[in-house]
């Protein structure tokens, strides 16, 4: 009996305890780790991948997958730069355009999967390649920056507006002056909104129902297709939010495939399975998962660990989290039966 409760305890709180121990360890061994500023930049370093991960969580909930989020983010990065630098639009228009682009990409992904019966991995893989190419067509593969040369020989006159850069660079005062960057606030808001939506609303529960048994959900009258499309649209919009924040931080439109963004955010979402023993995609877990990777990487960087150890560590954490999820949870349910 005690062994069983111990196991349940380990599954539920194991990951959070590990996180806690890691923070203590880095505080003691890495110079300057334990400070409000460190907390702020660790959050900043995970904010963008975290936002993307929250989107992918929604698609995981309906038993789908979105491989296109990384390229949606970099497309939004290029689109916002293009809108402001070359088309000389305002910050608000640029942001709205990016969000619209994310929603449309999500809609197309959803329609491909639901209406055309293309398997989710393949549909979003195709979309990924399509977007990586598409984002480079308007500028013939060049990055976008103020003063860049246009094909007709003149120089681009537009610039990133101050209001847009504010999104990536402004810091709110919290105890310490200029502490919390805007992307962190947006990350936290997105996390809360997605958490409330998935856990507390009827729509969220129906999405979980679709994820665990699509047929059963359909038989009780759920509009499965509409919810699936909605999940991909949420994913597209959150990815474009991530791209907007990235553009605002970098201040230029860098061409990038976004594959690292994709992998990091998927890792965060999968690590999230293990948090509180949920054994399924959930918004709280995803946020903690992103934070976990962020703390680990920033702590290692502060201790001067070389770059290749970082991928290794990311991989190790992911494997550990998957063991937590699949082995221990399976054992727990088996233990419950006997």
């Amino acid at each position: 009996m005690t062994r069983e409760t111990l196991l349940t305890f380990a599954i539920r709180f194991g990951f959070l305890i590990l996180l806690f121990c890691m923070v203590i360890y880095f505080s003691l061994s890495a110079n300057g780790f334990a400070s409000p500023r460190s907390a702020a930049f660790i959050l900043q370093s995970v904010a963008i991948t975290g936002i993307l991960a929250l989107g992918v969580t929604c698609t995981l909930v309906v038993d789908g997958f979105d491989l296109s989020i990384g390229s949606v983010a970099t497309s939004a990065l290029m689109l916002s730069a293009y809108a402001m630098v070359i088309l000389e639009m305002s910050a608000v228009t640029a942001v709205l355009l990016c969000l619209l682009m994310g929603a449309i990409v999500g809609l197309i992904n959803g329609l491909l999967i639901v209406k055309f019966k293309v398997p989710d991995l393949l549909a979003t893989l195709g979309m990924m390649f399509l977007l990586i190419g598409l984002q480079r067509i308007p500028t013939q593969g060049n990055s976008i920056a103020t003063g860049m040369k246009l094909p007709d020989g003149s120089a681009a006159e537009g610039a990133f507006s101050a209001a847009f850069l504010w999104l990536g660079r402004h810091r709110f005062d919290l105890f310490v002056e200029k502490l919390v960057p805007v992307p962190v606030v947006i990350f936290l808001i997105t996390a809360v909104v997605i958490w409330v939506f998935l856990e507390l609303t009827r729509h969220g529960r129906l999405m979980y129902a679709i994820g665990s048994n699509e047929r059963a959900a359909a038989l009780v009258g759920t509009n499965v297709n509409r919810y699936k499309i909605a999940a991909y649209m949420i994913s597209g919009v959150t990815a474009s939010i991530g791209g907007i924040l990235l553009a605002a931080r970098l201040g230029r439109g860098d061409i990038a495939s976004g594959n690292n963004l994709l992998l990091d955010s998927v890792a965060a979402a999968l690590i999230g399975f293990a948090v509180l023993g949920a054994a399924r995609a959930n918004a709280f877990g995803t946020a903690i998962g992103a934070l976990f990777v962020g703390i680990l990487l920033q702590g290692l960087t502060m201790m001067n660990a070389p770059y290749y150890t970082q991928d290794f560590v990311k991989g190790a954490v992911l494997v550990l989290a998957l063991v937590f999820t699949f082995y221990l949870s399976a054992k727990r349910s088996a233990g419950g039966k006997t």
Partner: protein, 346 residues
Amino acid sequence: MLRRQAMKLMGSVALLAGYGSVALADMPAPLDNPGDVKIALVRYLSTGDFFQSYLSGVETQAETIGMDLRVFDSRQDAALQADMVDQAIALGVDGIIIQHGLTESMKDAAQRAVDAGIKVVAFDVNVENDAIPQIEQSDYLLGKLALEQALKDNGNAFTAGYVYVPGIAPLDRRNVAWEEVKDANPDITEAAVFGTLDNPIANSIANQARSVMQANPTISVVFAPYDEFAKGVKIAVDEAGMADDVDIYSADVSTADISAMREPGSAWVATVATNPAVVGEVSVRALALLLTGENPGASVVVPPTLITQDFLNEQDIKNMDDLGAQMPQFQHADVAVADWMPLPTR
């Protein structure tokens, strides 16, 4: 015979219209009839501003001479790149420029081209062949010039951060300069080495650099010998409010880099660069020399230029065009030229 003369005349007229006074008829054979000379550019890397600009340099110089240029783009597929060399041989080209690639995969392909009587030059890839001149944008000098400026500005005793990812050929060559400077100046403390090529690079570097700055607040000089690295460090330094305490020295330049260096109070004080378009032009000129039987030398080095923040501010330079206008040595390298060779007009 008459037809050929007429065609040549027409060609000269077209070129004259486009490029000003060019004495075309004076070019030695086979370039006395440049429209019949086919050359191929076989690329390994093509994505990004540097490679885009390199290509434009190759295109303008080939067009100025009047040669027929074919571009093969293997998009980082080493095996495909070797196949493309064979394709170019089959196409009957007169000359090939190999742009980047792996020694292992390109060595044999390059030899096959030489055996077929084709003139070959290689840019930034060592194909271990005496018949093939190497075009280089001396990465070692790039690093050395930046570090000399750092020593000039900061003396020879400072705490440094260094951004480096081993195993990337140009970065390894720039690293040699850093190692030398460290050995020669024992009072330079290397407090931290970091780096990543995770895409988007500037963002990933910014995250790392924030941690490094927090852990080592004494760092006063950062050597970031690649502009994406420097951009990332600059974001981190700005976010940490340390722009006045840290100086960033880097390599490479672009319009976006110029505006980052010129932001008020920017920590990015100097960069060293070769103009990729010029490297492209030099590649074509070296090949043209080879085609006419002249020898451009086993290694053709395009010298880099130091660009400081002060210079950019004094001359009010906003983009790459301004930079070229104010810095003639950046716009044109006096390398692999001949009296008869037409140069692109600026």
